[in-house]
């Protein structure tokens, strides 16, 4: 063990002597320099280890041979060592990152850097107010000087602004210090008794606090910081953003006990305000480093408010929340700033250069994910706990603001990410490889991953199954060099194994969804066997998604469920993003999913704690969700299931995703939302509902169905058409869940299963066609029935199954739904559903006609049937559909028993005849009769038809003319123009416009507010002074 004061001593001594040492050559001085930095890290790490593991008690170091308050004393406890460890670590890594600069530039830079780090250590450890001031100045002055490590106009003026602002702040701090001394007669934090202070004394404390707070860059008094972030060398920027901030936030933490609660709360609010505005203004930002600047200012605000609002909560919580935000911000910011230094592109649109460099891209992605608080990174846990805390504290407004701001942050971060990955501009220049820079960035990312795992393991002690999604990604990533076929087989095996592993499920509802999720995925996975070459990174995320589906079912707590949910979002986002032109699509998907996720957080936070230790789907029956929580959860889940109003991500995602990914999204991912909604329903029916919310959900579902059907009918793109059809179908499901009756839920589950099968089949069929024709525009196809008969049969059966025409399974769904609606007394809703199912014929016919019937195009004269890997899964699903059409009991029977857990059965099943309170349906008999009425005319026709002459294409009675070309003869484009015309104003995409406009508004506001940063140093000072005055009067001290 080393006395931590040696950190200060050694750094100082080295600092003093370094210029002399340098005379013996830069090599030597660099060696000394780095060894001192490393020494610091080890000392602190050693102490942290002692405090946490060995439970050593906090260490106090007196100087000058006197005890405090006579002399200045330092203190190193668990918090100090924690903060210092990360500050020193980042300090070291940043120094390594800067090694090239340090080799070239003047020795002074090393001295300044070394003393900067020393300053932070002193700042964190010292317990004397005036000494804090001194170290603050040491820190600031060294930073000021280092801002011009790369000397240019910009960094100079930014540095100057920084100095002026810092100078003003420290002036106030000094004033505060002396007045605190005047009122309390002491300068040592332990010996200043806040209660002894008169209310003038509070002013002194206020001056202290506000000065430190200014250093924490609150909105709007933070223009100088932005300029610094934008213009200063990346290595130094990360030091400023991380090391300095860490030190200063810790100072704030140290003086917090002196502040009265009401003042603290206002600072907390100010932090939240900062978080909000910086993210709002970030929306409009194009310069990468300035964007990060905005983000880190925001994060500091969040950190401050977290620090304040968690003050009186148990330690573990403080560790998770404050520590989580702290580490998250620190690591992500350092890493990202370094990457900006590596990429050396100012505008975020020029970052396409990064997509050539996979390794760096992955680091970039991981850092962005962690910054946006996605699992498994610390920020995720912190956010979860923090929101929970605030919700329990009834601080709903703060919760709302924080979540909205985080949403903004996610928007601009992921816009950046997608713009980088999907950048289609031709890039010839390469990113030069600089070991030191890569090294630092890699290490920091590694650390964050390790911390994440530690948190999952030791804070929340999850079992393996909850990491499984990540493990899958990692394993497949390691195996990425082997051909995709083998990976596909492995994945199939993995899915099977996983299914077997979770198989004994607690109840049949889980089992049912298990079949949809796992078995459905497995069959869909066959279609991916058609992938050529390596298809890097695909199977990892596919498995991640499938496993997360499964984890949703076995999750025992809210957190486990939400974790699985987020993993599902991440993986599906990345899968969608793999599509060629999927930037907008994936971004939209991410934004909406995040919004949904935030609603879920709040919803779960409001929910009462679970009573039993069984899977959430089961145990949720025993608790009653408060109404607000129910609403939030419902909206959250309905976003995922693409309900009307929040559906606009859905068509994009389905259409732009790779064609063998779309089936997963449409057929399975949407069902996750259904599952969630069903869970709410379970808790809702088992506990006396307070107000009939599901009535409205029902209406939303119904409207989703009709609107989806119409939109689908007006599409030209086959996949968009199917996407909207999924939306409409899920609308049916949602509506019938909302009925909350036995028949209703049977119909919901029946339709879910059915939809899984026919939508998978159809999407895979379209995938096959796209694979052959390379187009999704339906009017560019036509007449393919001759070329792809097998695919045609799939589509035929698929659309019959959707349309609900007897005898196929679709009719069962329709029968159940209408019966349940009329039984429930939702007559108008039933009418609308009738209408939408009639409208669905429009798009269904359009789908099959424009692709398969009509005139074959010349360019398709000699294309082949879809590859076998597309055919196999299609036909597996077709067989399934046929089976349950022929023998409905196969599914109705089990569903009857499953739903029987929640409602008393209202249907009688004898033989194949199912009788509801209203009518009956004998699927088997219908099938037989249908066969009869089909075969008889066929036989007759064959009998009467003496001579059938099959003619070639174009041999048609066309006013005795031969039509000129398929394009003009094939009626396909804008097929239902007249219907659109009939709809008139109702045909406008109002919802899309709404979201578009609100996005516009947000950006406009952001742009408006950021105008206050005129770039004029004087204005910034004015901001600071006014800020101080305003806060003073708000606090009314």
């Amino acid at each position: 063990m080393v006395n931590p004061i040696y950190i200060i001593i050694l750094s100082l001594a080295t600092g003093f002597l370094l210029s002399i040492i340098d005379k013996a050559g830069r090599k030597l001085s660099l060696t000394v320099f780095y060894s001192v930095l490393t020494f610091n890290v080890f000392v602190v790490a050693d102490w942290l280890y002692r405090f946490t593991v060995l439970g050593v008690s906090t260490l106090t170091i007196n100087t000058a041979g006197f005890k405090a308050p006579l002399s200045i004393n330092l203190q190193l406890g668990i918090y100090e060592s924690f903060v210092l460890l990360f500050a020193n670590l980042v300090g070291l890594l940043s120094a390594i990152y800067l090694i090239k600069k340090f080799k070239e530039s003047n020795i002074s830079s090393l001295i300044l850097y070394l003393i900067l780090i020393m300053g932070v250590n002193g700042l964190v450890m010292t317990r004397d107010l005036f000494n804090i001031f001194v170290f603050l100045e040491i820190l600031s002055i060294s930073t000021y000087a280092l801002t011009i490590l790369t000397k240019n106009q910009k960094s100079l003026s930014a540095g100057f602004k920084y100095m002026i602002a810092g100078g003003v702040a420290s002036t106030f701090f000094l004033l505060g210090v002396v007045f605190v001394y005047y009122f309390s007669g002491n300068l040592n934090l332990e010996f200043i008794d806040p209660n002894s202070l008169t209310n003038y004394g509070v002013i002194a404390i206020f001056l202290l606090a506000i000065a430190v707070f200014i250093e924490l860059k609150p909105f709007p008094a933070n223009g100088w910081a932005l300029d610094v972030y934008e213009s200063v060398d990346s290595g130094i920027t990360s030091v400023i953003a991380v090391v300095n901030s860490a030190g200063i936030i810790f100072v704030f933490y140290k003086i917090m006990p002196l502040l009265p609660q009401n003042l603290l709360n206002i600072f907390g609010i100010a932090g939240v305000v900062t978080f909000f505005f910086s993210n709002l203004m970030g929306l409009k930002q194009q310069n990468a480093k300035r964007l990060l600047g905005y983000s880190s200012i925001g994060q500091m605000g969040l950190l401050v408010s977290a620090l304040i609002f968690t003050m009186n909560s148990p330690n573990k919580l403080i560790y998770v929340i404050v520590g989580g935000f702290f580490i998250n911000h620190l690591i992500a910011k350092a890493g990202l700033f370094w990457i900006t230094g590596i990429v050396k592109k100012e505008k975020i649109n020029d970052w396409g250069i990064l997509k050539e460099n996979k390794f760096l891209l992955i680091l970039f992605g991981l850092l962005l994910f962690s910054l946006s608080g996605l699992p498994p990174f610390p920020g995720f846990w912190a956010k979860w706990e923090f929101i929970k805390l605030l919700v329990h504290g009834k601080m709903f407004f703060v919760v709302g603001v924080i979540l909205l701001s985080s949403l903004f942050e996610v928007i601009y971060l992921f816009r950046w990410f997608t713009a980088t990955v999907k950048n289609d501009s031709e890039i010839e220049e390469k990113i030069p490889f600089q070991f030191a820079k890569y090294f630092s960035t890699t290490v920091i990312v590694g650390i964050s991953l390790i911390i994440s795992v530690l948190m999952m393991r030791f804070v929340y002690n999850f079992q393996t199954i909850h990491y499984l999604p990540i493990i899958a990604v990692i394993i497949i990533y390691l195996l990425d060099f082997i051909p995709s076929k083998i990976k596909a087989i492995l994945s199939l095996g993995a899915v099977g194994a996983y299914g077997y592993y979770i198989y004994p499920l607690e109840n049949n509802l889980q089992l049912f969804f298990g079949i949809i999720f796992i078995v459905g995925s497995a069959i869909n996975l066959i279609a991916t066997f058609n992938r050529k070459k390596l298809s890097k990174g695909f199977y990892g995320f596919l498995l991640m998604m499938i496993f997360s589906f499964g984890n949703l079912l076995v999750a025992k707590t809210y957190l486990e469920f939400f974790l699985a949910w987020e993993f599902m979002t991440i993986s599906s986002f990345i899968l969608i993003m793999r599509g060629k032109r999927a930037q907008k699509a994936s971004l939209l998907y991410m934004i909406f999913s995040t919004a949904g996720a935030y609603l879920l957080i709040v919803g779960f936070a409001l929910a009462p704690s679970l009573v039993s230790n069984s899977a959430l789907m089961v145990s949720i029956a025993k608790i009653q969700l408060p109404i607000l929580s129910t609403i939030l959860l419902a909206i959250g889940f309905m976003i995922k299931s693409g309900s009307l109003g929040v559906h606009i991500w859905l068509p994009e995602a389905h259409a732009e995703a790779e064609s063998d990914v779309s089936p997963f999204i449409s057929a399975i991912l949407l069902k996750a939302g259904v599952l969630g909604l069903l869970m709410i329903g379970i808790s809702y029916v088992n506990n006396t509902p307070t107000f009939n919310m599901f009535y409205w959900i029902g209406w939303i579902g119904v409207l989703t169905a009709i609107v989806g059907a119409f939109l689908a009918s007006f599409q030209e793109d086959a996949k968009r058409l199917l996407a909207y059809s999924s939306m409409s179908q899920v609308g049916y499901i949602v509506a019938s869940i909302a009925i909350l009756s036995h028949l209703g839920w049977i119909s919901a589950l029946y339709l879910s299963f059915n939809h899984m099968m026919f939508k998978s089949a159809l999407f895979i069929a379209i995938a096959g066609i796209y694979y052959r024709t390379h187009t999704r525009k339906m009017y560019e196809m036509g007449g393919l029935i001759k070329k792809m008969p097998l695919t045609y049969i799939t589509v035929l059966i698929g659309i019959i199954a959707i349309s609900g025409v007897p005898p196929l399974s679709g009719f069962g769904a329709k029968w159940l739904i209408y019966s349940s609606f009329i039984e429930k007394g939702w007559y108008l809703q039933a009418g609308v559903l009738f209408f939408s199912s009639a409208v669905s014929f429009l798009y269904l016919y359009r789908l099959i006609h424009t692709i398969f019937l009509g005139q074959l195009k010349y360019e398709h004269q000699n294309i082949k049937e879809a590859p076998i890997w597309f055919i196999i899964p299609q036909y597996i699903f077709i067989i399934g559909i046929m089976a349950i059409s022929m023998f409905p009991n196969l599914i109705i029977q089990p569903l009857n028993s499953i739903v029987g857990h929640y409602f008393n059965s209202t249907i009688a099943i004898d033989g194949y005849n199912i009788t509801s309170s209203l009518g009956n349906w004998n699927g088997n008999m219908v099938m037989l009769v249908t066969m009869g009425v089909f075969i008889v005319p066929l036989a007759l026709l064959m009998l009467f038809n003496r001579k059938v002459q099959t003619v070639k294409q174009f041999n048609i009675v066309y006013a005795a003319e031969r039509p000129e070309s398929p394009q003009t003869t094939h009626v396909a484009h804008n097929m239902y123009a007249h219907f659109r015309k009939a709809l008139g104003g109702w045909g406008k995409p109002r919802i899309w416009e709404f979201w578009h406009d609100s996005a516009e508004w947000a950006h406009t506001f952001g742009d408006f507010f950021r105008r206050i940063y005129t770039g004029n140093g004087q204005t910034y000072i004015l901001h600071i002074i006014l800020y101080i005055v305003v806060i003073y009067f708000i606090m009314g001290v």
Binding site: I141, Y144, I148, A158, V178, Y181, G1015, G1017, Q1018
Partner: protein
């Protein structure tokens, strides 16, 4: 109400006013150091006790009753440090200005706002 304290605060305000109203970089720095000086005066005047002598225990004071006879030594100690730090910051600011002037031959703060928004 004590004159020196008032003086200190007045200087502080004047200094800040100077920083806010003057366009010239040098003048802004002068404003800063005026404000700084103001603070120093405040510190010293806080340490002062009526009709007592400096905390130097030479023949002028009776060692045994020193506590009743000398003014508060702490502010004097603090002010020394404060002054030095102020000097350091001012020096650094000035050298920044020198460099800025070299780059763009202008001392008006309005000419250095290319970083904004």
């Amino acid at each position: 109400m004590i004159f020196t304290l008032i003086l200190g605060f007045v200087l502080l305000l004047i200094g800040i006013y100077g920083m806010l109203s003057q366009r010239n970089l040098i003048k802004i720095i002068i404003g800063f150091s005026i404000a700084d000086t103001g603070i120093h005066i405040i510190i010293v005047s806080i340490g002062y006790l009526r009709n007592r002598t400096a905390p130097i225990l030479n023949s002028a004071v009776d060692i045994s009753k020193a506590v009743q006879q000398v003014v508060d030594p702490i502010p004097s100690a603090l002010v020394l440090t404060a002054i030095v730090i102020g000097l350091a910051v001012t020096a650094l600011m000035l050298s920044f200005v020198v460099e800025l002037y070299k780059k763009r031959k202008s001392l008006s703060i309005d000419d250095y706002q290319e970083l904004k928004w």
